[in-house]
């Protein structure tokens, strides 16, 4: 990545860029891992790796997807290390309660609890679309899926989420 003068990006500029993107990256890692401490570790590790590999980022506007790819890779690494085979969703919700219940809005709290229960294959593309603003094609490229498969997962994810939240799903297609 080059700065305005055409040289390598300096530390201050890199830090400013990372700081601006960090909140969404932590949120993304949190919804991926459902664990705030792990999410913060993953993003911290991501920043270190990004700094070491900063020359591979040719265009500053591509920083967000570039960092998100590193987050996903780091999360996969942490998963391999910890061997998290089974997950008790209720325990996870209890553990992350302060973060999930930060809002006084009970409806939001219930929606967050429902998101915790959504299978990862649906939760991840949904978070990428709604939180990160990714298009279907961008999600497909990132997850190495076809666009049709992404649309199917998004449809099923939203449908399941609405049902979990007690929304009226009588008009939802099968």
């Amino acid at each position: 990545m080059k700065d305005d003068a055409g040289g390598n990006l300096n530390r201050a500029r890199f830090q400013a860029l990372c700081q601006s993107l960090r909140p969404d990256l932590v949120r993304f890692a949190f919804w991926l891992s459902r664990d705030q401490a792990l999410a913060e570790d993953v993003v911290q590790e991501t920043m270190l790796r990004a700094w070491k590999a900063r020359d591979s980022l040719k265009d500053e506007t591509a920083a967000k997807p570039w960092l998100l790819t590193i987050v996903r890779r780091e999360y996969a690494r942490s998963f391999e290390r910890k061997r998290l085979i089974t997950v008790d969703v209720d325990e996870l919700i209890a553990k992350e309660e302060p973060m999930l219940a930060a809002s006084q809005d009970q409806e939001l709290a219930e929606l967050r609890a429902a998101l915790f229960k959504l299978p990862e294959e649906y939760r991840e593309p949904l978070v990428m679309q709604v939180l990160m603003g990714y298009s279907t094609a961008e999600i497909a490229a990132e997850l190495n899926l076809s666009s049709a498969a992404v649309l199917t997962r998004l449809f099923r994810g939203r449908k399941q989420l609405r049902a979990l939240c007690g929304e009226d799903t009588s008009l939802d297609p099968e």
Binding site: A101, L108, L111, S146, A148
Partner: protein
């Protein structure tokens, strides 16, 4: 021209899709317009829900932390009671429905499943990436050799209570759907022609059956059977 189900399926996948055909349908259909309004309301809540605040910020002075759930011990007791009651009620309802309802044929259920995934029927030569196909086949104890044809769609679908691979293979007659139904046995090849789809359900010794179908305007039954034989020959069972 898209119908209500196609429209709602598309907006459930992407409520902000700016596709012109979707917009035309929304403008001409009061019910789908109201449906979209409600969905966009949910979407707005979803976006706010995803924007969680890190713990440090949540604990800042003036921030009220509302408990999300009851204390765990109490919640566990209630949950067990609720689960037991739900199972009992579910069994009674399911039993009643099973006795009361006419039992749909396997072919009818396969055809009904097609309505839910219209995007699978795209005519294309772009194969699904290998990791995606591997993911769908991961619990099936089968492999699909490349001579099955180009697989352009692969999903793991809920069908009659089981997760089954739903694949689309491109052939001379266009896209052909293959559903691997290891939990459904048939005694002999069963051709069918219903609701605009033509296909055959083939018995697979020791592994249930294989449903292979195409849209009826794509070709005759013999063409579908030819593709079915080709796919069946390309499956390697590993267990």
């Amino acid at each position: 021209m898209i119908d209500h189900a196609q429209y709602r399926r598309a907006v459930l996948a992407d409520p902000h899709d700016a596709d012109a055909e979707l917009a035309r349908h929304r403008e001409s259909c009061e019910e789908c317009s109201a449906y979209t309004e409600r969905l966009l309301g949910f979407e707005e809540k979803l976006e706010r829900a995803l924007r969680v605040t890190p713990r440090a910020a949540a604990a800042a002075p003036g921030t009220v932390v509302t408990p999300l759930r009851r204390p765990r011990r109490q919640a566990l007791g209630r949950r067990w009671f609720a689960m037991a009651a739900s199972v009992l009620v579910g069994l009674v309802i399911a039993g009643g429905l099973w006795l009361a309802a006419p039992h749909a044929s396997l072919a009818a259920d396969v055809v009904a499943h097609m309505a839910g995934e219209p995007q699978a029927w795209t005519r294309t030569d772009v194969p699904v990436p290998s990791p995606e196909l591997d993911f769908v086949l991961r619990n099936t104890r089968m492999r699909l050799r490349p001579d099955a044809g180009i697989v352009t769609y692969a999903q793991s679908c809920l069908f009659r209570g089981h997760r089954v691979p739903h694949l689309v293979v491109q052939s001379d007659m266009g896209p052909v759907t293959v559903m691997v139904l290891v939990h459904e046995s048939v005694s002999k090849p069963t051709p069918f022609d219903e609701e605009g789809y033509r296909g055959v359900i083939l018995p697979v010794a020791g592994h249930g059956s294989l449903a292979v179908l195409a849209k009826d305007q794509s070709g005759d039954l013999a063409s579908v059977e030819k593709v079915a034989a080709q796919v069946q020959a390309a499956i390697e069972w590993t267990g």
